[in-house]
Amino acid sequence: MAPETKTDSQLFQQYKYNLKREKRIIITWQLALLIAFVGLWEIASRLYWIDPLLFSSPSEVTQVLISNMADGSMLKHIQITLFETIAGFIIGTLVGIIFASVLWSSSRFSKIMDPYLVIMNAMPKVALGPILIVALGTGYVSIIAMGALISVIITTLVIYNAFNEVDPNYEKVLRSFGATRWQQFKEAIFPATLPAMISTLKVNVGLSWVGVIVGEFLVAKQGLGYLIIYGFQVFDFSLVLSSLVLIAIFAAIMYKVVEKLEGRLIRSKT
């Protein structure tokens, strides 16, 4: 018996080792790709394979980031854009969920609204930018509105669909207990669609960034989107690229935070 159990645990060790090895290979390649990209960019820029005035270089971008961070100006822009994005994201998602609930509460109302939702969903929301600015002013309110608007309709449609896909037998059980429609919603429909709601959060993070950056393009005096446009106008592409790098980093962080939240919420609910 003894030698056999030893082989079992040896096999397990082997399996764990292989798993670790696979992980290491993947991380190595990921790092290699990053280094190759940055390195190639730097070399191409220095050897004038690409125009350094247009495409800058990693060393230039780092320089710009460091100096702008040091005097605190970059931090201000980051704060503003982050605030606008998070606000737009939360408002868009919440309003979308509320709209979906209203649609669910009356099937006649949802049928009446159907063509309008289709049109609003198909329309590129950023085209409404100028109207928003006229209506809400040139401050951060219109930028937040843009960040919310871009995700609200798609959230409504996705969540409303999720509401309708809940097994009708759950409602049947509740109705046999005499539950009102609101009680059915509270006890069955809403908790059953919580996973769907959280997965729309992940989509909405990306959408809100689009809305906010476009909004800043149009009107802002501050923010990362403003820095991109400003850098473009004064032909400082190192500034444009460093803003882009920051947007990429913060968008990725926000996505990861939402993903963590998803893991925690879904585990606590099941």
Partner: protein, 259 residues
Amino acid sequence: MSFLTIDHVTHHYFLANSYKKALKDISLSIKQGEFVALLGPSGCGKSTLLSIIAGIVKHTSGEVLLENKPIKPTDKTIGYMLQQDYLFPWKTIMENVMIGPKIHKSNDPAILTKAETLLNQVGLTGISEAYPESLSGGMRQRVALVRTLLNNPKILLLDEPFSALDYQTKLKLEDLVSTTLKAFNKTAILVTHDIGEAIAMADRIFVMEANPGMISKVFEVPIELRQEAPFSVRKHPKYQVLFDKVWEELEDKEGKTEE
């Protein structure tokens, strides 16, 4: 005296381009404490009839009376058990069982004790804080039974509640449900397509035919069989006799509809 009366109930399903008569002129009456089975092929409208009794589906014409009064779904008179348990996966077993009192906003502290007693009675001890996913199919269906009974319904509607279970579990649960309902003197209607189950559990069997759904024949289950628990009924000599008669009736109707 009749407890539940179904009087000339007819029901249509309307579609955009056609309609179907799901039930035609159903009349039956059930005594208090009686256990009846509705047996028939799929599409004979037996589940529809249950939904009509529960007040979830509104029938086209006719009357359904419980103690000479129409049934409203907001009364706590109906207990419904479905093919599957439909326990809410995000609620604990106790929260699932307590859903009825929660909906009726009942603050009676005795109800919690009653829930615990009922759970113990069906052999589920120490699982009230567990979630449904950690329970087997048979255990989950027992929780669903407790959830239904806790509401103290006057009549229980069982819509093939054993059909999704494996055979052994099904037989054990039949015994449990049957003895529990007898103990509480509950009136029950069981919908099934399993002849054996109908004979084993019911006092009377209504055989239904499809297109349109009608009651084709009523069988009285012999008194000797009614007194036994479902598991022992299947071993009784009279069981096979009745089984063959019901089988013949169903075959007969099936032949007629295929012509």
